[in-house]
Amino acid sequence: MKRLQLERLANPQLLALVAVLLINWLLFPNFFRITWQDGRLFGSVIDVLNRGAPVAILAVGMTAVIATKGVDLSVGAIMAVCGAVAATMVVAGYPTPVAVLAALCVGLVCGLWNGFLVAVLDIQPIVATLVLMVAGRGIAQLITEGSIVTFNEPSLIFIGTGSFLGFPMAAVIAVVLMILVTLLVRRTAIGLFIQAIGVNRAAASLAGIHSRMLLVLVYALSGFCAAIAGVIVAADIRGADANNSGLWLELDAILAVVIGGTSLLGGKFSIPLAVVGALIIQAMNTGILVSGFRPEFNLIVKAGMIILILMLQSPLVGTALGFFKRDSRQATPK
């Protein structure tokens, strides 16, 4: 009876998020304190939303890619490229909307390139996106000429540090994007098609799904999301840091998707839960910062927590604890 209730009320991702937040609260009693300052909310929880936004945005695109049994390693590098494009254009005197639009287009083109390699040339996703992961950072460095391109354009900075109804702009963008993409895949048949490709691409094609075009679209979406994240990160620090922007974030994004319960083998996926996964990762990062651990322990603490969370999700442990049962490979249309 208890098991049924838990199954209805909560899923392991939300439980994990609550647990991490509670641990943070135990380590740092003021964790949940939120004040109003300079027309915006101010507090550690808000930091989690704000800092978690770039990975959450990446996770939105990454979920769709992983659901097709693919992976996109290039998102971190695309972030660097798009941040560099936006920053250099603003410095060169272009208006912010033009610069941002150009950056988004570049991200889209990068995604289309990945999609072309995967869908048309049939290169394995991990290899195909590795190309841009390596080359992208080089391209970004070429654009910025190796230095951090600093800008002072208020409208561009607003994207990274502004606020909307008191909430950080980055978090607002992430939520809006999450809702739009979730609606797109759940209110149309696209989500079902994506799952079908992930479960069995050949069968999906035989069933009449344009798997090639859908794959290209999915990678384009991932590139587009990376572009948004790249612009936000650049706007946040008022500069395009080609060497460090988005560095290793592709791995955080993949981790967020996995924590969100989407299998790397494709098929069933959930975009909102991947965003929750991103928040879990960030809640841990922020928790470490406010707790006062020595930096040498950062990675150990993080690794321990992640192992715990993933173990909680493992079907075996789940059944043993009676938390939940999962039909992992079954594609359930909604």
Binding site: D47, R51, I237, N244
Partner: protein
């Protein structure tokens, strides 16, 4: 900025930076190979341009090779220099190990090798000298500034460390701690890594501010590099505090953006990691070629302190033209 004014600044800088007098006569017309790591940071780009300017001012024909972060490219470049029969070789080694063979080849060809910025794990007789900064000293200079600045007042410091386990992070931390040791009014209350990046510096500082009573308990932030300090300054501003006044900011490197922060009154001090490693190297080379004066194995560059009193706007303009 147009080409002419760029050149004018470059020329004036080059003359100002070196004691051109000794080196000029001896190096005129020499061919020197320079194997650079790459252009992974603004500082590296500045080091490259300063080296080229130095060479031009001294009449040295500089053969430049960019290794794009790969040791095999550097070894190839050095072998190429040896084959061309250059008069000397400058190397900024990308890693410490694996240099014995190629350095021995250079020694056999009687070409002096001078290391810039980083050392190597090779027998000392294989190279003429190494020009580098003293990272512990950099930390100490930053700490000494804070000690002098706060006087007897209590000061709680938060520290933004470099990448965990990296040599500059360890050394700059050690130097700063040495400087504040014995001054009980100054204590480091929090220390976290910001990975030497602006974004992480900002994120960590946000956390520190939340953790320390909205920043009210923090007197100063010490960042292991300027980029993290620039991020921290933004975090302080976002928290409604005034960087430079409410929370003092001291850091290391001397990149242009920290000088523009100083102009705005948002940074208090930076310790320069000079991009001019080539100047002392050329001087040592000139003395060596003139009368065989063997330089010390390690030449330490100056770790100069800059505060808002040192014409930050001028420093910003000069450095910006170096390609930082």
């Amino acid at each position: 900025m147009n080409i002419i004014s760029k050149l004018a600044i470059a020329a004036s800088l080059a003359t100002a930076l070196t004691s051109v007098t000794i080196a000029q006569d001896n190096l005129q017309g020499l061919v020197v190979g320079f194997s650079q790591i790459g252009s992974e940071s603004g500082w590296r780009a500045a080091e490259t341009s300063v080296t080229k300017q130095q060479a031009e001012a001294l009449g040295v024909d500089l053969k430049f090779a960019d290794a794009q972060q790969k040791q095999e490219n550097q070894i190839k470049a050095i072998r190429g220099f040896i084959a061309q029969g250059v008069d000397a070789i400058l190397v900024a080694p990308v890693v410490a190990t694996g240099w014995d063979d190629v350095l021995a080849e250079a020694k056999e060809a009687e070409i002096p090798v001078l290391l810039l910025d980083r050392g190597v794990d090779a027998p000392e007789d294989l190279y003429l000298t190494m020009v580098a900064s003293d990272q512990v000293l950099e930390g100490r200079v930053a700490g000494d500034w804070l000690v002098a600045d706060v006087g007897d007042a209590d000061c709680k410091v938060v520290e933004l460390q470099g990448t965990v386990g990296s040599t500059p992070a360890i050394n700059r931390k050690q130097g700063f701690e040495e400087a504040i040791a014995g001054h009980d009014n100054i204590s480091i209350i929090r220390s976290q890594t910001g990975d030497f990046t602006r974004a992480k510096g900002k994120e960590v500082m946000e956390g520190f501010i939340k953790a320390e009573n909205g920043g009210a308990d923090i007197c100063a932030v010490y960042a292991h590099n300027d980029d993290m300090a620039v991020g921290a300054i933004q975090a302080i501003k976002d928290a409604g505090l005034k960087p430079g006044t409410d929370i003092k900011v001291v850091s290391i490197d001397g990149v242009p953006d920290i000088f523009s922060a100083m102009v705005a009154g948002e940074a208090n001090a930076t310790v320069e990691l000079t991009p001019n490693m080539a100047g002392p190297a050329f001087e040592a080379l000139a003395a060596y070629l003139k009368d065989g004066t063997v330089p010390p194995k390690t030449i330490i560059t100056e770790s100069k302190l800059y505060t808002p009193a040192d014409d930050p706007q001028g420093e910003y303009d000069t450095r910006k033209s170096l390609g930082y």
